[in-house]
């Protein structure tokens, strides 16, 4: 039997019996490094080197920034402003949720953080207005997938580190697809809300809107500083993340006056654990990736794919189907490490732009955060709302379909991704 089938098979088997991903991916790697004598002695050095990369430092800082911005309530001002602006139309609160998630996405770097920040405000608001609680939770989870594309994005940092694609360019390339995903969600929101007669509050007067915008200015300023800093060539993404942390703390201490030592401790603690859960996967999935490549397994899978068809359009479709299925079982970071060694030779062969490819893959993996059974966004939304996972999973279906439509557009129209970075001249 092909040793590769055994490597992947063992990983998959462990996964099915609820062995944590790091163990499930780590044990087969060690076993094969030992059995094929590939240099198991370097395991510790490999694990160390997988984590100790400067660009990856953006991850803890963006996660910490997300925790702080959530704690100090930066999302509340944004939501109040959006609600006065577009709230009263059919499905209005649903649309506010979508827009809120997109805006908060420009501050935070991960989908679950977005789900939590917007969800804690919008799910109770929607339920109060008569929206179904399962719908509300599913919508927040689906809208928060845009956060993965809207810069800053932890996923793009990891993709950039693996493929050596430019992280600022990836960030810029994610903007249009992220907005597109948000737009795609409007149709099901409007349609379902119309059927059920769900609306919003009254229209805001211009004076009220102006005032709410002024009150939300600190929230609206955050993305300007973070992204402006990166594209103005002032900060690297890692530095921008540090600035975002300091900005959030200053906002909490000086403006809202709701951020004390206890809050600092709690946000640091929460961010440290969240970071570690991501980074230890980076470490061990990196080991797996290295093992698989050294054994030549990844090459064989690539050749197998090319043996099926040489048509790039069909290959892209195949890749997306593979990724959607993988997204149901695995988190995005593991998928990058496991699949990218397989995809990189394809990218070379078909002369695919790595940045566009990264965006396509990331849209797909963002969708993976709402496809059960493994679906972090749904899990967070279910926790916040109190609706069961089953109920949330049922309501998420129309949003899933809408996001897949956006995925197809991003897949087959590379200009959607590459237009903005080219316009900005980001290298």
């Amino acid at each position: 039997m092909d040793s590769g089938i055994l490597l992947f098979g063992l990983f998959f088997l462990f996964l099915l019996i609820n062995v944590p991903i790091i163990t499930a991916i780590g044990i087969p790697s060690l076993l094969f490094l030992w059995y094929f004598n590939l240099g198991i002695q370097v395991t510790a050095a490999n694990i160390y080197a997988n984590i100790a990369k400067f660009p990856l430092l953006a991850i803890p800082f963006f996660i910490l920034a997300g925790f702080i911005m959530d704690k100090v309530g930066l999302s509340r001002g944004l939501v109040r402003f959006l609600n006065l602006l577009i709230g009263p139309v059919t499905g209005g609160l649903g649309l506010v949720t979508v827009a809120g998630c997109v805006l908060f996405g420009a501050i935070s770097g991960t989908g679950p953080a977005d789900t939590a920040a917007i969800g804690t405000v919008m799910i109770p608001a929607m339920v109060k207005r008569g929206y179904n609680i399962g719908f509300a939770a599913a919508l927040v989870a689906a809208a928060a997938t845009t956060d993965v594309l809207i810069p800053p994005s932890v996923a793009f940092v990891v993709f950039g580190v693996i493929t050596e694609a430019s992280i600022p360019r990836l960030f810029a390339a994610g903007v249009v697809p992220g907005l597109l995903m948000g737009l795609a969600l409007i149709a099901p929101v409007w349609w379902i809300s119309r059927k059920n007669g769900w609306g919003g509050d009254r229209w805001g007067t211009w004076a009220e809107i102006g005032q709410a915008a002024w009150e939300a200015k600190w929230g609206l300023m955050a993305p300007v500083i973070i992204l402006g800093g990166i594209y103005g060539g002032i900060f690297t993404p890692t530095e921008a993340a540090v600035i975002a942390v300091v900005y959030g703390i200053l906002f909490g201490v000086a403006v809202e006056r709701n951020f004390g030592w206890q809050d600092l401790y709690e946000t640091l603690r929460g961010a440290a654990v969240s970071t570690s859960v991501v980074m230890i996967v980076v470490a061990f999935a990196g080991l797996f990736s290295w093992t698989g490549s050294t054994m030549g397994v990844m090459d064989r899978v690539t050749k197998g794919l090319l043996g099926l068809t040489q048509n790039p359009i069909i290959i892209l479709l195949l890749l997306n189907v593979m990724l959607i299925i993988a997204g149901m079982l695995l988190d995005a970071i593991s998928i990058y490490y496991v699949f990218l060694p397989i995809f990189l030779p394809l990218m070379k062969q078909f002369h695919w732009d790595p940045v566009w490819f990264g965006v396509m893959m990331t849209v797909n993996l963002a969708i993976g955060t709402i496809t059960p059974p493994v679906a972090v966004n749904l899990y967070v939304a279910s926790n916040i709302s109190g609706a069961s996972m089953n109920e949330v999973s049922r309501w998420v279906m129309p949003f899933f379909v809408a996001l897949v439509a956006a995925l197809l557009l991003v897949t087959y129209i590379p200009a959607l991704s590459l237009w903005l970075p080219d316009l900005l001249g980001v290298k």
Partner: protein
């Protein structure tokens, strides 16, 4: 863990400020922050094992009888212990070779093994937390 992240953030912030205002990048800060990052990851991993918050696929096992669930918990714990025991073992090997070769870090030129020492030390902590986490999960299933 909280302290490690706090120090990392502060050092990184100071570096941004100095680089921007006095156009002077403190190269050694990068080394410190990156090394602390490894420690942070290992410390946080230990906490996450205790809380049971590592990513996993619980869908199938949750639908099995309690005896199966308990077996799965202890099997996962056992595999986790084996994994980190190996990591500790190879970490110690790494330290020995670094001491023999007298490897020093790139910018601060302090012995590299000071950083590497985090792997066996925190690895041991992780194993303790794996056991604690398994006991807690087991108790939850039984009750």
């Amino acid at each position: 863990m909280v302290l490690v992240l706090a120090v990392m953030t502060m050092v990184a912030f100071i570096n941004v400020v100095t680089r921007y205002f006095i156009r002077f990048s403190l190269a050694f800060t990068e080394e410190i922050v990156v090394s602390l990052f490894v420690w942070l990851t290992l410390l946080g991993t230990a906490v996450a094992f205790r809380q049971g918050s590592h990513l996993g696929f619980s869908f199938l096992v949750d639908r099995c009888p309690k005896s199966v669930q308990r077996t799965a918990i202890w099997l996962a714990a056992l595999l986790g212990i084996v994994l980190f025991a190996f990591l500790i073992y190879f970490g110690i090997g790494q330290i020995q070779s670094e001491r023999q070769l007298g490897t020093t870090s790139e910018s601060l030129a302090i012995p590299q093994w000071w950083y590497t020492a985090g792997i066996p030390v925190f690895g041991l902590l992780i194993i303790v937390r794996i056991v604690e986490g398994a006991i807690a999960a087991d108790r939850k299933v039984r009750s």
